[in-house]
């Protein structure tokens, strides 16, 4: 399935469109999605460090999805670098 992932903060620089779309095997977990994103960005945005992506969280509009959670089908996700509000 195709999963759209919106980019924020330092990761916005990885794609001018503000999002990437990945082909994700059905039944994948968030941990597996993270590795797919690391691989995708290594090829398409080599300036983004894999270390940063590994410190990122994934989320829907409503909640953060931790590593063990399945990637929801047909739902747009966001990848969230470490936060620095206030």
């Amino acid at each position: 399935m195709k999963t759209r992932i919106a980019l924020f903060g330092a990761l916005r620089e990885a794609d001018a469109s503000g999002a990437v779309e990945l082909e994700v095997p059905a039944g994948s977990t968030i941990a597996e999605l993270r590795e797919l994103l690391v691989t995708h960005l290594a090829a398409h945005a080599p300036l983004v460090s894999a270390g940063l992506v590994r410190r990122c969280a994934f989320a829907t509009d409503e909640e953060i999805l931790h590593n063990h959670r399945p990637v929801p089908e047909g739902v747009a996700l966001a990848v969230l670098p470490p936060v620095s509000g206030g």
Binding site: E63, P82, V83
Partner: protein, 162 residues
């Protein structure tokens, strides 16, 4: 939670309103109001800063602000009105980046609710700060990971002075 106002304000559409926040949390039952106002300062870690751009994932940020409000209500254990608003977009030195105001019956509850809310906004809400420097360079702040595995490793190691 009644008495909770959460907002993300686009810089181009207006500024954060401190007077409105204090008015919102006022109540005949309440003798104490505490507020925190975060403004853009002109330096960070030895570099001269000319401004900050804030990026937010708005729907989740508002959801987090509401959850923070519920938590503050539970922790304080007293009637509470709470205002949490954060700016989005490019801000100049002195612009207001964040406003938290808490109204409660007594001062201790107000201070505790306000402190809890601003710390949670800084460490848990999907907000990113990009500093712009005098020399034309820009950098995203390092920040605090929302990934549970990473939090378990790093939270013990740093004291959250940011």
């Amino acid at each position: 939670m009644d008495g909770l106002h959460v907002a993300v304000v686009e810089r181009g559409e207006g500024a954060l309103d401190v007077a409105a926040a204090l008015e919102f949390v006022a109540d005949p039952r309440f003798g104490g109001i505490a507020s925190f106002i975060g403004r853009v300062r002109d330096h960070n870690v030895g570099r001269s800063v000319t401004g900050i751009s804030y990026d937010l994932f708005v729907p989740l940020a508002l959801n987090r602000f509401r959850a923070i409000g519920e938590r503050a209500l539970m922790e304080v254990g007293a009637p509470l009105k709470l205002w949490i608003a954060h700016a989005k977009g490019r801000l100049a030195i002195g612009d207001i980046a964040v406003v938290v105001a808490a109204g409660t019956p007594h001062r201790d509850e107000a201070f505790r609710a306000c402190r809890l809310a601003i710390e949670a906004v800084k460490h848990e809400a999907p907000i990113w700060k990009q500093e712009h420097y005098v020399d034309g360079d820009s950098a995203w702040s390092e920040g605090c990971s929302l990934c549970e595995e990473d939090r378990a490793h790093t939270h013990a190691a740093h004291g959250h002075g940011h």
